[in-house]
């Protein structure tokens, strides 16, 4: 074998299919503004239509409904109105829509200025360029003055896939958790985003919503119950409970199905409120099983699992904590579904972590 062959890249199989992108879904995608049409190759069409597949990013539609309900909302973005799905809002309400171009820090400061004039200023942008590039502006311009700004950081975690590590956002929870007065929440699908905006619209102060790229498998059939500091128990389980956020909610539900066949009953809680956090839900999980499992698409150091660890330590909850998430490393690049599989952030990964946690816990299959 020559050295060239040894270094040759071995192609990986195609990413696991996203089964929910059906022909019916495709048929509803509007490409009227694009020069790509239905007569083009399917692959050409697929790429052009891909933005339209971010069905779970309901932000624009929800905000339009809230304007109709009388809320004085303006929307800001930094050249990401299409991918973050607020461009429809801009078409409907051009006088309420401000696209700053690729100038995130200016956008954040101006959103703060807009909020001082009595508007509810909403920022919709990729999470990395919003939360990490903009953190100093978020802290000084929005949070320190306690302004009514809503930020939705989309494409969090590994969602940007092959665009690469520069676009992955596995640090925003850790960074933003350190900012006083900032409510931090993670709506896991389109209905959760609807609930998140609607139920907090009268909250006095800033909120950051951590969202995905909008192609997540939906968890909720309709807008769920939602409150600051709340959580939704989606499944009860005798043997262990996963406290999950974002994509890991649906992955954990699927893991629960897999484990059921093995006789393991896994509970799943959508812990959508990261700061403040639902301490009672953590207490319940810890006392029920003596084992708490957290799951997030974020660096496990400083993330949601760390917030859970703080509560467990402060409250003296004698339970083991297993954190599922990104290792404290820079992520690989690749299609998101490959990355989820690689890092154990899909159903199989969660199931494996749960199996391992239960088999290595002193209490065996928990105390339930």
């Amino acid at each position: 074998m020559n050295s060239g062959e040894a270094n040759r890249y071995v192609p990986q199989p195609r990413a696991p299919a996203m089964s929910y992108i059906t022909a019916e879904v495709k048929a509803t995608i509007d490409l009227s503004e694009s020069r790509v049409g239905s007569t083009d190759d399917e692959a050409t069409w697929d790429m052009a239509a891909s933005l339209g597949l971010s069905r779970q990013l309901t932000t624009g539609a929800v905000l339009a409904e809230l304007v109709e309900a009388g809320h004085d909302i303006v929307v800001c973005t930094a050249d990401l109105g299409r991918p973050t799905q607020v461009i429809g809002f801009g078409r409907k309400y051009p006088d309420r829509y401000f696209n700053f171009g690729i100038a995130e820090r200016n956008m954040i400061g101006a959103a703060a200025g807009l909020a001082t004039t009595g508007h509810i200023a909403v920022i919709s942008n990729y999470s990395f360029f919003l939360a990490l590039m903009g953190i100093e502006n978020i802290r000084n311009d929005i949070c320190y003055p306690g302004l009514n700004v809503r930020m939705i950081g989309t494409h969090s975690g590994l969602a940007m896939g092959f665009y690469g590590t520069s676009h992955h956002c596995n640090e925003d929870i850790g960074a933003l958790r350190a900012i006083a007065g900032l409510t931090l929440m993670a709506p896991c699908d389109g209905n959760a985003i609807r609930a998140a905006f609607r139920e907090t619209i009268s909250h006095d102060g800033p909120i950051y919503f951590r969202a995905g790229r909008g192609r997540e498998k939906p968890v909720y059939d309709c807008a769920p119950a939602w409150k600051i500091g709340g959580s939704n128990t989606l499944r009860e389980g005798r043997h262990a409970t996963v406290l999950a956020i974002g994509n890991l909610v649906s992955a954990s539900l699927d893991a629960a199905d897999l484990l059921k066949a093995e006789g393991i009953e896994l509970g799943v809680v959508d812990m959508y409120s990261i700061a403040p956090i639902d301490r009672a839900a953590i207490r319940r999980a810890a006392t029920k099983h003596g084992l708490v499992i957290t799951a997030e698409e974020h660096n496990i150091s400083s993330g949601f699992g760390s917030a859970v660890a703080e509560v467990m330590a402060e409250e003296g909850l004698a339970a083991r904590l297993v954190r599922i998430g990104m290792p404290d490393q820079y992520s690989l690049l690749g299609p998101p579904t490959h990355l989820y599989r690689h890092y154990g952030l899909d159903a199989e990964g969660v199931a494996a972590a749960v199996r391992n946690a239960i088999s290595t816990s002193p209490s065996g299959r928990g105390q339930g």
Partner: protein, 284 residues
Amino acid sequence: MSTRPVHESSKQTLREKARLIRLETLRMTDICGSGHYGSSFSMAEIVASLYYRFMHVRPKEPQWPDRDRFTMGKGHAAIGLFPVLADLDFFPQAWLDTYTRFESPLGDHPDMKKVPGVDFSSGSIGHNLSVSVGMALGTRRRGSPARSVCLMGDGEQTEGQIWEAAISGAHWGLDNLIGVVDINSAGSDGHPQETMKTEPLKAKWDAFGWRTLVLDDGHDLDAVCAALDTAMNKPDGRPTCILAYTVSGKGVSFMEGGWEWHLGFLGPKDLQRAYREVLEGTIG
């Protein structure tokens, strides 16, 4: 946008208000133990002209939606703003005596949550022109006659965000937005043009689509008022930038032009010399 009436304050009044800014800056710095003399003295005529001739505010209704708004990119000069806000009765004069003391509302930088009359907090250089862009967008959307003024430093012109804000102000034709650059040639490390050259500033602001006015002497009250009148009352579809060439420490001979007094402290004898010069001065 609409224009607003000009307050009938005499030139002598403005001169006395600028003197008040300098005297109180000396006194409050003495309370604190250090202060931004240079930055406060260089902007004195600009701030006095803004608040006593052009801006419409209601001290008893600080959040009046139609108020003109003033933000400071150069927030470290807040020591020169506080005496004006107290003089206008936004808050009691006695607050000035607590400057920088434990739990005082008044610190080195202005805080909108603690100080009535402060339209936006600052401290992190380069943020507030963006905030003023947002204010100008918001008040314009409401059909308000409010104008938003942001006072920047010349050292601040190196911040990239300034130019992001400049682009957006021009893009949206915000002629209710005014930037004033207090070019006092003093920064922490020396003269800003030596630390990092930003000139030619007029060519830059022109190129960014702003109506750019140059004040060769930012302490000449007639010239300052003429420029502010153009900027605030003669809108032409563009934001206006006033490049005000000033003197750091203006009004105290041994401080003038020295970057050493951007931030400093005066011992008792020097303080008395400074008081005397400010009291006897006839700037503007």
